[in-house]
């Protein structure tokens, strides 16, 4: 069966991403969920199941069993509810599973969400926890960190394709500019190329302003069978394509670390299901956990040929006003990156864009949008393609 167009997003909500010192994981989730429920004009009792993306609640706040916890605190105990984990791609994966559950006819209306609470521990502890997305025995044990993995990729990409330090900086500059138009973004101030190049080194050649923050946050989407979606909203956004793939857990087990095979494979599935090509995408949210990751995303999604991602940023193609604006929300870099919530936060942005609700950052006449969410150093990837027509 094809899921194309069978399921629609009827409402979205999210917290601001950032440092929520005064809020707990459950508070963040309930805040985002209530916003989405109001947006969807559904009753809490209409929700027949919940799929919650979360990367590391067991690590960061020593809380597992999020499914029942969050259904309970949303006031609907008894509702089927479970946590989905795929590192930073957790809630993109939760969305996919929610869509499947509706498409097969199991449920009419489903809540898909993502949440992460990271700021209750020290920075060093967060770096340790984040390294669990890599191979603990053969990478992290020897001192590998998540920024370091992307630094290794950047170094090879620069060597093999001549990608420059300035091109990487331009990704952060663009995304901060976009973030300045997004009231939910963690960072709403523009930065310059010099700011990036003068920021402290994190893992050479990557600097602080090449890296997304590790944020607290939650994001929620309410999805429904397409044939009932218009009972709730005049502007349903349809799921046209969905793709998922994995790759080796350790970066060192790949032949070429300048390409994410998981993106290539997931994109192939999603484009085929949606019956669209890369050139048909009007707006995209991609996983810029580090600036180099956005360059790889351009290439592996097929927006440009391998090795030409740097050229795309130079030409301004992916800026607001360009041919295919990427990360209009500010991306992980400026909107913030709350590992378990990022996948749905990307979907929230694309839904707003396709509903013409994106305010100052609206892409005119956007009809087809794409989200691309990876886990770790690309060992997992989930991609969705959306349209405002079925």
């Amino acid at each position: 069966m094809s899921m194309r167009g069978e399921v629609a997003v009827i409402g979205v909500g999210m917290t601001k991403f950032g440092e929520h010192w005064d809020k707990q994981l459950r508070d963040l989730f309930v805040e985002a969920a209530l916003e989405a429920i109001e947006d969807a004009q559904v009753d809490l009792r209409d929700i027949k199941a919940m799929f919650i993306g979360n990367m590391g609640s067991g690590l960061w706040v020593e809380q597992e069993h999020l499914g029942p916890l969050l259904a309970d605190y949303l006031g609907i105990p008894g509702t089927p509810s479970l946590k989905i984990e795929s590192a930073c791609a957790s809630s993109g994966m939760a969305f996919r599973l929610g869509v499947i559950s509706v498409a097969v006819g199991l449920y009419d209306i489903v809540l898909v969400g993502g949440v992460e609470k990271t700021s209750d521990v020290t920075h060093g502890e967060s770096i340790h926890h984040l390294a669990s997305v890599a191979d603990r025995e053969w990478e992290a044990f020897y001192g590998m960190t998540l920024p370091a993995l992307f630094a290794l990729i950047a170094k090879r990409h620069m060597m093999q394709y001549g990608t420059t330090r300035e091109q990487l900086a331009k990704v952060a500059v663009k995304n901060h500019k976009h973030g300045s138009y997004n009231p939910k973004a963690q960072f709403q101030r523009p930065i310059s190329i010099e700011d990036v190049l003068n920021s402290p080194l994190v893992a050479d050649p990557l600097r602080l302003l090449d890296c997304s923050p590790i944020s607290d946050g939650a994001a929620v989407a309410i999805i429904a069978r397409s044939d009932i979606a218009r009972k709730f909203t005049d502007t349903p956004v349809y799921v046209l394509g969905s793709g998922v793939a994995t790759d080796t857990i350790a970066l060192h087990d790949r032949d070429d670390i300048t390409t994410f095979k998981s993106i290539v494979l997931a994109a192939r599935e999603a484009y085929k299901m949606a019956k669209v090509e890369p050139k048909d995408i009007n707006v995209a949210e991609v996983h810029d956990s580090f600036t180099i990751a956005e360059i790889l995303a351009y290439e592996d999604l097929g927006f440009v040929k391998k090795g030409e991602g740097g050229k795309l940023i130079d030409e301004g193609v992916t800026e607001l006003g360009g041919k295919i604006p990427v990360n209009t929300s500010g991306g992980l870099k400026a909107r913030g990156h709350s590992p378990g919530a990022t996948g749905i936060a990307q979907i929230v942005e694309i839904v707003l864009q396709l509903r013409n609700d994106a305010g100052k950052r609206q892409v005119s006449n956007a009809e087809i949008g794409l989200t691309q969410n990876i886990g770790g150093s690309g060992a997992s990837c989930v991609i969705h393609i959306f349209g405002n027509k079925r």
């Binding site: 044990f141 020897y142 350790a250």
Partner: protein, 136 residues
């Protein structure tokens, strides 16, 4: 809040010999070599693999300097981490030691040295394994 996922004695023991002697796994069908034990080859699907002692020399495939370390390495200061490609094509993740970042590049020839990798606390386990250093 404590860090609970640093290795503990039984877990360290499971892989100690492989880490000490640099033992990997080779697929008998496609020939690919991996660090770490495997029962099934992720490249060709074969179930015929054998343990092999890996070459002690290789070249730096990519590297960086970690300046924001995880909590267990906060006292260590910046360190070099790399993917090294061994002479038989096996790639692995390792720390590069006995040199400054300016002395190495992609392609630098390195050799394995037996070193302390880390420790839990004053009464906990000290764990060892291989790091690599430039061949002088």
């Amino acid at each position: 809040m404590s860090i609970m996922s640093v290795p503990k004695a039984p877990r360290i023991w499971q892989l100690a010999e492989r880490r000490y002697r640099l033992i990997g796994t080779q697929c008998l069908k496609c020939g690919r070599v991996f660090i770490g034990p495997r029962k099934i080859c992720p490249q060709c699907g074969s179930r015929e693999l054998r343990d092999i002692e890996l070459p002690k020399r290789g070249k730096i495939y990519s590297y960086t300097v970690v300046r924001n370390p995880p909590v267990e390495r906060e006292k260590q200061g910046p360190y070099i981490i790399a993917i090294v490609e061994l002479e038989n094509g096996c790639k692995l993740t390792t720390e590069i030691v006995d040199c400054s970042p300016e002395e190495i590049d992609i392609g630098t020839v390195v050799e394995a040295v037996f070193r302390k990798i880390g420790e839990e606390d004053k009464t906990g386990v000290i764990y060892y394994g291989c790091k690599f250093r430039p061949v002088k």
